[in-house]
Structure formats: C-alpha cells, structure tokens
Symmetry: C2
Subunit: 148 residues, 2 copies
C-alpha cells in the first residue's frame, strides 16, 4: 500500500497547493479590479493605497522608470480627476504566484466616449505586513501606431 | 544586556537578509545580461533557455499576451538571426525579491548602426528546479512617437 499512500499524499499536497494558488489568483484579481474601477472614475488613490513604498513604475509617457511611492503619488496626483473610462474589459487575467509574491498580467480595453485604448499590463504583488501590495507596475500600449 | 543582544540579533538578521537579496540581484542581472548579449547577436536561444514553460510575454508588436514557452519559441525563432545590436546600455537595473521569485526592471538603450532604440523592460524570475527562470517578460517602447 505504500505507493498508494504516497500517491494520495502527493495528490493531496498538489490539490492543496493548487487551491492556494487559485485563491491567491482570485484575491489579486479582485484587488486589481477594485483599484482599476476607482482609476476609471478619476481616482488614483485606489492604486496608491495598494502600492508598496518601493514600487517601481513604467508607462508609455515617462522617460525612465519611476522609483518609489512618493514619485508615483506625484504622477498620479497630477492627473487626479482627469481620467474617465466608461467601460473596461480585463482580458484573460493570469496570476503566477509563490507564497509571498505574484505576477498578474492582462490585456485591457478601455472605452472613453468614442475612443478605445488597448493596453498591456503587468503588476507584481508582494505580501507586505500580511497584505498584497504592488511593487511593480508596467503599462504599455498594445501595438501602438508609430510615426515611422 | 538583553536589548543589546536583541539589537545585535536583528542587525545580523537584517544584514544576512540584505546580503541574500544583494546576491539574488547580482545573479539575476548576470543571467539577464548574458541572454541579452546573445539576443543582440541574433540568437534568441539565450532567453528561451532561461524561460519557464508557463512564461507569459508582452512586446509592442503582439496583439495580445503570448502564453507559454512554445508560443514564445515560435515568435523568437521567426526572427532568429535578424537582430543585430552593436551597443547596449542596461540603465539602472533593479531587483526586488523574495526567496523564490524576483522582479528585474530596467531601461535599455540599444544602438544598431545609426538607430537608437529605447525600451522599458520587466522580467519576473522564479526558482524552477533550483534555477532562476523567467516567467514573465514585458518589453515596451519608452515614450513611443505616436501617429496621433
């Protein structure tokens, strides 16, 4: 019976691990959507509240990576109230995780009036004081139409 | 003496932790540079060899996130031999890590003849079978010059 017991133990372990990572995935997607929905109404505080002190940040409009929550807060506060997204679609969110860190990736479609914007997004979350916090955000445009 | 012993213990722990994360940082930057230098000579296998089976991938030319090593290999093999970068500068590489996962971010300048390309890069590494493997790559253009 030894092999059977071993197999059952491995199955139990794998199933527990898979449940844990499913649960991390659900939690993180929920946190992200909640911040995104505030963002879409012009309120960047949702993202600021879940970003860690050492967060690093890329978007298509910054010359270099931004380092740290203070710089990110300056940037976000400069556009507070200016974003209005009517509809969004978080396409195919995917979470890859270990116990204390996880990476969420998705494509995003944002609709503002007649404009449709398509984005690639990578968020890296880490457990800080028992809460998931963003330590890296990377926004880029999906297939941007370039001048040259 | 108790408080002093406690302080010394905390200092030792912090110093050991800091050394460990410094060492992860050095290892990961070395792995990345090595793959990048092969890439710059038209050889994408450096990146393929250090990418995990469940790697996910964004670049400015793909319509959606690519999922999995097979799809990434198809993409990379389609441009094998076509990249020639004469000089590169990995600007301000930064590694944020826990024991089994780490995120490397940097700005990259690539020079090919008279062309200069500027990139934002996020790589997420995870320990797979005792080796650091990339599970997420996000390349985007720094301040792309858009048509509109």
């Amino acid at each position: 019976m030894k092999p059977l017991i071993f197999i059952l133990l491995v199955m139990t372990f794998n199933s527990a691990y898979s449940q844990e990572s499913d649960s991390i995935s659900q939690v993180i997607i929920k946190i992200e959507k909640s911040a995104l929905e505030r963002w879409n109404k012009g309120d960047p505080s949702g993202f600021l509240e879940i970003s860690a002190k050492d967060v690093v940040y890329f978007d298509p409009f910054t010359e270099q990576r931004l380092d740290g929550l203070d710089k990110l807060a300056n940037l976000y506060n400069s556009i507070r109230g200016q974003i209005k997204v009517d509809k969004y679609d978080m396409i195919n969110p995917n979470v890859q995780s270990v116990k204390n860190m996880a990476v969420l990736t998705y494509n995003l479609i944002s609709v503002s009036g007649d404009s449709i914007h398509k984005w690639n997004c990578t968020e890296v979350y880490r457990i800080d004081h028992k809460k998931w916090k963003i330590i890296q955000t990377h926004w880029s445009l999906t297939k941007p139409e370039m001048k040259n």
